[in-house]
Amino acid sequence: MSSANANTPSALSGIRVVEFGPYVALPLTGRILGSLGAEVIKVETNKVLDEMAFIPAWSRGAGQPEYQRAKRRITLDVRTEAGRDLMLELVRISDVFMTNFRRNVLDRWSIDFPEIRRQRPDAIIMWQTGLGGHGPYYTYKSFGILVQHLSGVSLMTGLPDEPPGVVNTSYSDYHTGVFQPAGIIAALMRRRLTGKTATLESSIFKSGVATGGPALLDYQVNGRGPQRRGNRDAWAAPHGVYPCSGEDRYIAIAVSDDEQWASLRKAMGDPPWAAAPEYETRIGRRRNEDALDASITEWTRQQDSLALMERLQSAGVPAGIVSQGRDLHDSEHLQSRSFYQETRYWEAERGVKATEWTEGESVSWSIPARMSETPIAFGKYSNIGEDNAYVFGELLGMPAGEIARLENAGVIY
């Protein structure tokens, strides 16, 4: 696909967004909107830094070039009166206000939604919650990494006869981060068409439940409870990951039908064991899966995972290495699609103001969608507070002296 001309207007140019809140899903939403040309103003403070800045190492991290790029980043302590007033001034010049703070916290700061509406009647408000903004759980603190297990999916994940498997990352956050822009853009389209605004409320919990729809229906109409199958499939076999040569290397192989089984047999060099009549049909392979997997494992164990993937794919068998971080970074396929791009970053350090962090060079992933006519910008990665002069000075028209005074007073901090 031809890449978009840099002079083409971005899909969301002219739209200004205030992003207020930490962690993963909300900043990811802001990054996506920013990459599409919206001017996203990220409001944060050095006084309470986002814990995600300290990832990957838990005490010293990379900041968040993955989540906080393509934004204008300012520091503002909204708990001060002057800070709150400035926040409301920003709301007045913005189209979208989005936050993931709980209702009681926003009330405490007097930045509640009725106030936002008073300041900017046509503002689109997007409220990201863990478990929803109403109902018995609304004041609960929640993280995607924990809320995701309420969705019913975890109980189906893991090996049979063992406790459920718990994926130690907040995949529900990632999912929430990519569908929230859909809600905001739908609301923007509707506002253009009808002049009506909208308040959106998402919950990370629901992004998990949405993926479990068929299982919920299965319970309802068939009374079937959750089943853990490890990497096996209810129908297809062989289906799983198989060890390869090298340390902790695996390949995923998923044979869906008899034709693919024939291709796999051929790729394995037609070993006598694979000719056994019980393996001829899908049901036969499912019934004899333990023996089948053991034989395949014996074969894969001696092979390089990447070479094996290429060989199986050329034979028409769905197969893929279990990618480690390094594999993703080095992948020729992802490189050919410019998936990773170079970025500066700052090594986050506790107790040290962000502007004093050490700068480094690394790479970060780009937005996982390509568009032919409107650029999806990788975007600049600003440090925390780097855009104070632009936002307070140029956008809000504050004199430099006033900005400096509020910096010293700990308001713009």
């Binding site: 068929p214 068939n222 409870g225 971080g325 992933w365």
Partner: protein
């Protein structure tokens, strides 16, 4: 016209299986007019188990019923010239075409993006595929487990010294579907501003690989490969069995942990012990700590400890089953589930809106269509008579 946010948006939906239909479901549930074009045998998703009352039937696949609400269905054989001509007629006033064929299929049918966009310059042509429309792996085949493994999420999931585990169901497909819906809307927003459509290319692998919080950057920043976590029983955030299920405790993130508060909360005086009162001591005595914690948690009940923990501001997760998810009081209070009558199967309750939008309702108002249910209405609008329809059916175009 629907009253949803996307009222007036016309989508021609060539998707099948899971990722594509989930994207168009999101658009349809927000009010877009989604016309699903199925091959004469139907979307292969109609053959996805489980089935209603376990009866395999094209109208009874539960994943299909879930993924195709609010759409209309027309059958069309795109391998026939007449079928393609009808598609072009349908595209003449459409806003978007969404498809998830292997990247070589549409060009082979003469339906490449350039041709379609020349036919209707307003058209957004949105595709989701396993590895994207370009690159050396473009034509590789994948299923859920293959895309999930290649995307990098699988490697960190499972026991440290055993094989990586796949997440249940079709997480990669759903995430890519959400991603495609977002990207299609961005293009539609731009189309409303400029009158011009464009090409959208979403890769399932990239949908997983992006947003991985600390898999790639552990390597790029520190040179380390993040692996599955070692299984040490004293880990305070480890999954624990309780008397009626499992919980995932979390005494706090980042902040210093006040051990005494935890001891009091768990009502476990035996933990009030110098062997456990700081992080390094707990690591040294992990096994003893783990044994005590296992015993304590075994006496607790899942819901009780969940509520008690949140009162103390500890963030606890509980591992719920689909049954419990349906009965969850929080979800019930928010009216998340939507009962919907199906002409053949009676009333079934569906998961509802992924987010709430004030004034602009999300609605599931129509069950998944029966195969070709709207052939007569849609083709009638294009000017085909009943006689024409009979001919098209006989010649296997519809």
């Amino acid at each position: 016209m629907s009253s949803g946010a996307l009222a007036g948006v016309k989508v021609i939906d060539l998707t099948h299986h899971i990722a594509g239909p989930y994207a168009t479901k999101l658009l349809a549930d927000f009010g877009a007019d989604v016309l699903k074009i199925e091959r004469p045998g139907g979307d292969p998703g109609r053959r996805l188990p489980p089935f209603y009352h376990d009866e395999p039937h094209p109208e009874k696949s539960l994943p299909f019923l879930y993924l195709n609400t609010n759409k209309r269905s027309v059958t069309l054989n795109l391998k026939s010239e007449t079928g393609r001509a009808i598609l072009m007629d349908l595209l003449a006033d459409a806003d978007a075409l969404v498809e998830n064929f292997a990247p070589s299929v549409m060009p082979r049918l003469g339906l490449d993006a350039e041709t379609l966009r020349a036919h209707n310059p307003r058209l957004v042509v949105a595709s989701v595929s396993n590895f994207g429309q370009t690159g050396p792996w473009r034509d590789y085949r994948a299923t859920e487990i293959v895309a999930y493994a290649l995307g990098g999420l699988m490697y960190i999931f499972g026991a440290y010294d055993r094989e990586p585990l796949k997440h249940a169901l079709h997480q990669a497909q759903f995430k890519a579907g959400s991603n495609l819906a977002s990207a299609t809307l961005m293009a539609l927003y731009h189309q409303r501003l400029t009158g011009r459509g464009q090409r959208v290319d979403v890769s399932i692998q990239e949908s997983i690989a992006s947003a991985l919080r600390d898999v790639t950057n552990n390597y790029t920043y520190t040179g380390a490969v993040r692996r599955r976590q070692p299984n040490h029983t004293g880990d305070l955030t480890r999954l624990r069995a309780v008397s009626d299920g499992y919980v995932l405790p979390n005494p706090g993130i980042g902040a210093a942990l006040d051990w005494q508060i935890l001891v009091d909360f768990l009502e476990a005086p035996e933990l009030d012990d110098p062997r456990f009162d700081n992080a390094s001591a707990r690591l040294e005595n992990a096994e003893a700590l783990g044994a005590i914690l296992d015993d304590i948690f075994a006496t607790k009940r899942k819901q009780e400890i969940f509520y008690a923990a949140h009162e103390k501001r500890f963030i606890y997760g509980v591992i719920d089953s689909p049954e419990e998810t349906v009965d969850n009081p929080q979800i019930q209070a928010r009216g998340y589930y939507v009962p919907l009558p199906h002409p053949d199967l009676g009333e079934i309750t569906f998961p509802g809106a992924p987010f709430l939008m004030g004034d602009s309702p999300w609605q599931v108002h129509a069950a998944a269509p029966r195969l070709g249910e709207h052939n007569a209405a849609v083709l009638g609008d294009l000017g085909y008579s009943a006689q024409d329809l009979a001919y098209l059916r006989a010649s296997e175009v519809i």
